[in-house]
Amino acid sequence: MTRVETRAESQAEAATAAALERGGGRRHERDEAHTGAQIMCEALIREGVDTIFGIPGGAIMPFYFALPEYAGKLRHVLCRHEQGAGHAAEGYARATGRVGVCVGTSGPGATNLVTPIADAWMDSTPLVAITGQVASTMLGKDAFQETDITGITTPITKHNYLVTRAADLAYVFREAFHLARSGRPGPVLIDVTKDAQQARAVARWDAELRLPGYRTIHEGSRWQIRKAAELLVQAERPLIMAGNGVIQSGAADELRALAEHLGVPVITTLHGLGAFPQDHMLSIGMPGMHGWVHVNRAIQECDVLLNVGGRFDDRVTGKAASFAPRAQVIHVDIDPSEIGKNVPAAVPIVGDARRVLAALLRELASREPWDGAASAWLARIRELQAEHEPRQAYRRRPTTTPLAPHDVYEALDRSLQERGSYRVVTDVGQHQMWAAQLIDWRRPRTHITSGGSGTMGFAIPAALGVALACPDETVWVVVGDGGFQMTNQELTTLVQEGVRNVKVAIINNGYLGMVRQWQELFDGRRYSGTPLSGPDFARLAEAHGIRGLTVEHARDVDAAISFAWSHDAPVVIDFRVEREANVFPMVPAGGSIGEMLVGNGAVVQDGNSNLPGAR
């Protein structure tokens, strides 16, 4: 928040600083010492940070005073809202695997970062959030813009710090970055009092990190890995489920090698999309609430389920008690607390996905590799797929409407596969699920979305971070009209920063569509609080200095998309789609994934409810 204290206050502080300056220490000590703010900048550079996203304010001003000295090494991106800065840092992190950094001042600046911090927590995104804090002498006195942000963020950070001494900064920053990026990545917050930023100290960069209580297990237990290998070999209907952990640990190659070695079909969760190429013959798609019928059916029929780096989110499992009733579950996760939390694991393996998969491959090396022919099991899944007609039916345009959302995805997917060099950032809601279903995901880190937290407003600012991290790629934002109206102020940030590679596709149906869909299906079309108006988005974009287009007919979709690709600047396309299109198939909340709605009123059941041997 750009709010500055009263003039008298800042004058008093300046006078104090000047007095300190005159009286401060012997000369040689002064030369070595840096201000806390300088140490913060230096620490960021040492951690390999080149871009930070933030907004200045009173309590973080000393840091901003120091920033210009490091202008060549640290790029500061001024966002329009701290939430935008936080999501941009998340986008940067998710696109690169590096730690994203966002900065805000105390009080409202810090609380505005809470949403992206919570988002990063749920999606295990490496993030360091830096906040200014009132001077240590004012702490606890309800000072202007004082908020207990370490207290507020305790449940949603991996760790957080309140730093009151400049001498502590170098160590704290190193520890914070280490925590954010190691093990199961996550957000770490560093709250630095204004006086700690102003005071001088000699930074010590060589102190060893002392974290005796922080243990990360990378190598899985050999005994468990052997057990897992045996199970996989004996399985008749094995299935691999790849989650976020595969992408985070860079295990896509190992995953593919294992799947191909054994000929095991692979499903990818929302955050696992891209971990396994969907044009591969072993790829069968996404499971869960909006997964394909044949994928969920495969889960219900499989006898061994190897979950790598997924946490069995309720959106994946549906009713956990009836999830994968015939399967022995092998669960690989770097966080021991995820194993056995939602779904019992027959073989628990705590470890890094890449190393565990590599170890599994070594364990199975002596086995004759898969011959490339479709097994009876894969044939069974394909049969289910044909029966329940997945993608094409959902893509088929209802003839009653001039523009169905599926027309947009069909054209967008085609253009993405043709052009190749892309990232896609989606927001939260119907458009997100359609993107997950209807785009062919082929490479890790090309699909970036808010999953666990389901944060509407994520996409536009996250795309800013992705675009800066990947300047040579085209970043497509797919966003609903609801989410777009939450954070579109960051379009101006794109313009100010000269970002050219962001293209926004608004799937505009004039509703908070996912809630509307639930209201239609489960609340008897009681559309409470969901009809949504909006400005003319194309003209809004033009007001930001960005090309805006409006598309109302299917015949215009291709032209708009190819214009966006070729236009060397951001483009916003307002796709005014069929207003009451639904995302199908769908598992009603709390239901079993064996029973899905495949259309309005149409249900498929797997008849599993009275399974012998079901858990």
Partner: protein, 198 residues
């Protein structure tokens, strides 16, 4: 069911808040909590009695806090469990003798005698404290403060293991941010997290 967990953690700012906040948000019910210094400087010891279906999840969540060094579920181990209590009981002259008899029977101590009240201190197993309070209640309890259960496992082998473990923690936890340059020499701590699931 109730589980008694003994937790060792680094004495860093906010650590108790983190632990308690974790219990609240994960919906684990704390029946008793006692925290204090351990024999190792910089290491606090917390005895927790929690009511949880899935105590393994409680332990794993505690381990996610970076200050937490060791969590032991001592529920089914031979332990010494103690709780202290201070009770101010209504004690007009006529009642003093029977109250003192109760005090003697429970190995309690009289901490203060006033004109109409007595303060009694008592230490024992939590169930003995329950009994003691039940016996005193008819006299009229004016004030009462239970100190929370503390627990320690019995026996030599256990202690030796613990001491080895603590030596390694002590080396690593003379904690300050800027600290000394001396290299803490702790062996790679035992695979405590994996133990929970392996």
């Amino acid at each position: 069911m109730s589980h008694t967990l003994v937790t060792l953690m680094q004495d860093r700012p906010g650590v108790l808040h983190r632990a308690v906040s974790l219990f609240r948000r994960r919906g684990f019910n704390i029946e008793s909590l006692a925290v204090g210094h351990s024999e190792t400087p910089g290491v606090s010891r917390m005895t927790l009695v929690v009511d949880a279906e899935d105590v393994e999840q409680v332990v794993k969540q505690l381990y996610r806090l970076i200050e937490v060094l060791k969590v032991t579920d001592v529920t089914n181990q031979p332990t010494v469990e103690r709780e202290s209590v201070l009770v101010k009981v209504h004690a007009p002259a006529a009642n003093r003798a029977p109250i003192l008899a109760v005090v003697e029977a429970f190995d309690a101590r009289t901490a203060d005698v006033g004109t109409a009240t007595m303060i009694i201190e008592m230490t024992g197993t939590p169930s003995k404290v329950d009994n003691f309070l039940a016996v005193l209640r008819p006299f009229g309890i004016k004030e009462m403060m239970r100190g929370g259960t503390i627990a320690m496992t019995r026996g030599v082998p256990q202690q030796q293991r613990q001491r080895r473990r603590l030596r390694s923690i002590a080396a690593a936890s003379a904690y300050s941010y800027t600290g000394s340059n001396s290299t803490p020499t702790h062996d790679d701590p035992p695979n405590a997290q994996a133990d929970g699931v392996a």
